[in-house]
């Protein structure tokens, strides 16, 4: 599904290298987790995949189902089925959450040559999905993420994911800032979406989320590279011993 080969990325504005040769291959239906120290480049990887400005790819490739992602506009990547749950969801004053989601769903449908959802069908769908995530009607009416608590913002990201039904979901620290119950809700939301044709890349600092969303593969990222990959036990090792041993071993 997602193939990343020897990806090198620097900041566009300054001569700062952030990703230094990332290799990652995610098969359909699988869940991969990335852990790693602060500043190692995890969010940068998610931004570069989704097409944010400010980064320059100096080497390497990233494809989704064979499509060269790096050539495409952010909206084209989304229409292909890529979704990023932001580490820091953006507040958009003046744009209602509902309007935003309906525009997004229908833009993607249009881009894929599908028929747009009617207002009534959309409403039915969003009500059901919001209910499962305990997002109340008031939050749907409010401007996107404005005045939402940290946890509400993260749940709103998962709601968007549920509505857009992407096939490659990248979750950047969706667990941070969530209380125990909200974490369960989010994990349930993710698990409900798990399927043969859908893959996840879960960026997290904590083992706890991975108790709920069982990963197939765990990667450790450090200084812009994946330095170690393994099974779920790798996350436990990090939880108990921190990164020191793994990093020492990788050098």
């Amino acid at each position: 599904m997602l193939e990343i080969k020897n990806l090198h990325v620097k900041l566009e504005e300054e001569d700062k290298r952030i990703l230094k040769g990332v290799d990652l291959s995610i098969e359909p239906g699988s869940v991969h987790a990335i852990m790693g120290p602060n500043g190692s480049g995890k969010s940068t990887l998610s931004y570069v995949l989704s097409g944010r400005d400010g980064y320059e790819v100096t080497e390497g490739a990233a494809t989704l189902d064979g499509h060269d992602l790096l050539e495409l506009e952010p909206e084209e990547r989304a229409a292909l089925g890529l979704f990023l749950a932001f580490q820091y969801p953006v507040e958009i004053p003046g744009v209602g959450n509902m309007t935003f989601l309906r525009t997004a769903v229908n833009s993607q449908r249009k881009a894929r040559g599908e028929e747009e959802l009617s207002a009534a069908d959309f409403l039915k769908l969003i009500r059901a999905k919001a209910k499962a995530l305990k997002i109340d009607a008031d939050m749907l009416k409010r401007p996107v993420n404005v005045g939402f608590s940290g946890g509400e913002k993260k749940r709103n990201e998962i709601l968007q994911m549920a509505m857009l039904e992407p096939k490659m979901c990248v979750l950047d620290e969706t667990d941070s800032g969530l209380d125990v119950d909200a974490m369960k809700l989010v994990a349930e939301g993710v698990n409900a979406l798990r399927s043969q044709g859908r893959s996840f890349l879960v960026i997290t600092h904590y083992q706890r989320l991975l108790d709920h969303i069982k990963p197939d593969v765990v990667h450790i990222m450090a200084d812009g590279r994946i330095v170690k990959s393994g099974g779920p036990e790798l996350a436990l090792e990090v939880e108990h011993n921190g990164y020191a041993d793994i990093l020492a071993e990788a050098v």
Binding site: E75, A78, V90, T103, Q108
Partner: protein, 428 residues
């Protein structure tokens, strides 16, 4: 002070092409306006009040031609049940206009009323305009009072059953129109006035509104749509106790628009809101000049102006709140903001507060900013294309101004016009 020679010359050159309309009821009102005009002269480039907007084309003897914009567009307010009064290039069109009967309201054409020996409008026509000439000269308004060829005189005695809608069509590329309207609302009366259309190649319009105690006046206008049209408009309003005055203007297109709004709050507990949203592209120049005088207790005034500018468009805002001595408990708010969609466009703002009372709350702010890149990326990452995503953010920026329209149907009409305009811009 004597006028400078260039000013005198420019004024006389303009006057040479005009004739005072025949009038009985309002002859002295017109003559006095002409005297006022001769004393102040037409605006020139050096006048402080015209620092950001060049008045040349507005005062020139001839109107510069403006092509008639023939792209089919759904006219605004189409869904609103209203009394339509149509002017084509400033000339009343009886065929296209509705019957002027409306419960609670008497509507007459200025040209008809002037034929009478006496008319109620004598107490207001040019009177509110004259009051608005102090402390700043507004010569184009005096010119209008003297030479307006037509307009409507509306006397509202109760709650108007539906809005009165003035529709200004533009058919002749060289037209030069001067219209003057007077609205008098008796105590407790209530009227919504709608205005739309490009009107003429050059349009000079004055609207005088006298809002008696407890009356309410709502005004929504959409200035469209011909790219080359020019307009100088003035609103002069006087507000009595407990009265409400709310005016909103949408402007899209037009090379030059100067909208002046001069409000005087003379009765306690009056409320005045004036708001504007404009979207401009290319050689578009749009100027909102507002002067609000608080001269009574416990009044509220709000100014909310938002401008979206691109491809070298210019936006101007000059807004003043004057709180006279004794106008205690005044609540004055003023915000003017521009969204600059590129580096070529500019926004020039001159917000002013002048306060002579000690127990008041007044705030004002003015900002200029670009589109929020973070927000734009967020929307695009969800599959919304750059164009529509920019439109969403643009509409969000304008929302605070549009929210000033109380009536939901009218707000929806304005929003629909804006959406259509933005989509058309994208289509190119």
């Amino acid at each position: 002070m004597a006028l400078t020679q260039p000013k005198l010359d420019a004024t006389e050159a303009r006057l040479a092409g005009l004739t005072l309309p025949e009038s009985r009821a309002l002859a002295s009102n017109r003559a006095e306006a002409l005297t006022r005009l001769r004393a102040m002269g037409l605006p020139g480039r050096r006048d402080e009040y015209w620092k950001y907007t060049r008045p040349d084309t507005l005062v020139a003897p001839e109107a510069a031609p403006a092509a008639v914009f023939d792209t089919y567009e759904t006219p605004v307010f189409g869904e609103v049940d209203r009394v339509k009064i149509v002017f084509v290039d400033g000339v009343y069109d009886a065929e296209a206009s509705d019957n002027l009967d409306l419960a609670g309201v008497s509507i007459e054409r200025l040209a008809d009323a002037e034929g009478h020996d006496i008319h109620w409008s004598k107490d207001l026509y040019g009177v509110l305009e004259a009051r608005g000439q102090d402390p700043v000269d507004r010569p184009l308004a005096a010119l209008n009072t003297a030479f307006a060829t037509d307009g409507v005189l509306i006397h509202v005695t109760g709650k108007a059953a539906k809005p009165v809608s003035l529709i200004y069509l533009h058919a002749d590329a060289n037209s030069d129109a001067i219209l003057h309207h007077v609205v008098r609302l008796d105590a407790g009366a209530d009227l919504t006035l709608l205005e739309n259309g490009p009107a003429a190649a050059r349009f000079n319009k004055v609207l005088e509104v006298d809002v008696a105690d407890g009356a309410a006046f709502h005004h929504v206008r959409a200035q469209g749509r011909d790219h080359e049209r020019r307009a100088a408009t003035h609103i002069f309003a006087r507000l009595g106790a407990e009265s409400v005055f709310k005016s909103f203007t949408l402007t899209a297109n037009g090379v030059l628009t100067r909208n002046e709004c001069v409000l005087e709050l003379t009765g306690d507990n009056a409320v005045a809101h004036v708001a504007g949203a404009c979207v401009g592209d290319g050689d578009f120049h749009h100027d909102d000049t507002v002067f609000i005088t608080h001269d009574a207790l416990n009044c509220e005034s709000r100014q909310v102006f938002k401008k979206v500018l691109r491809n070298g468009a210019t936006g101007v805002f000059q807004g003043k709140i004057l709180v006279k001595a004794g106008a205690q408990k005044t609540d004055g708010y003023q915000i003017s903001q521009s969204l600059l969609l590129d580096g070529d466009s500019q926004f020039l703002a001159k917000p002013e507060l002048e306060i002579y009372a000690d127990d008041v709350v007044c705030s004002h702010g003015s900002t200029s900013g670009a589109i929020d890149e973070e927000g734009l990326f967020y929307l695009r990452s969800r599959g919304i294309e750059e164009g529509p995503a920019t439109d969403l953010l643009t509409l969000a920026f304008l929302a605070e101004a549009i929210e000033e329209i109380e009536d939901e149907t009218l707000a929806a009409e304005i929003l629909a016009r804006l959406e259509a305009w933005l989509a058309r811009r994208r289509a190119g």
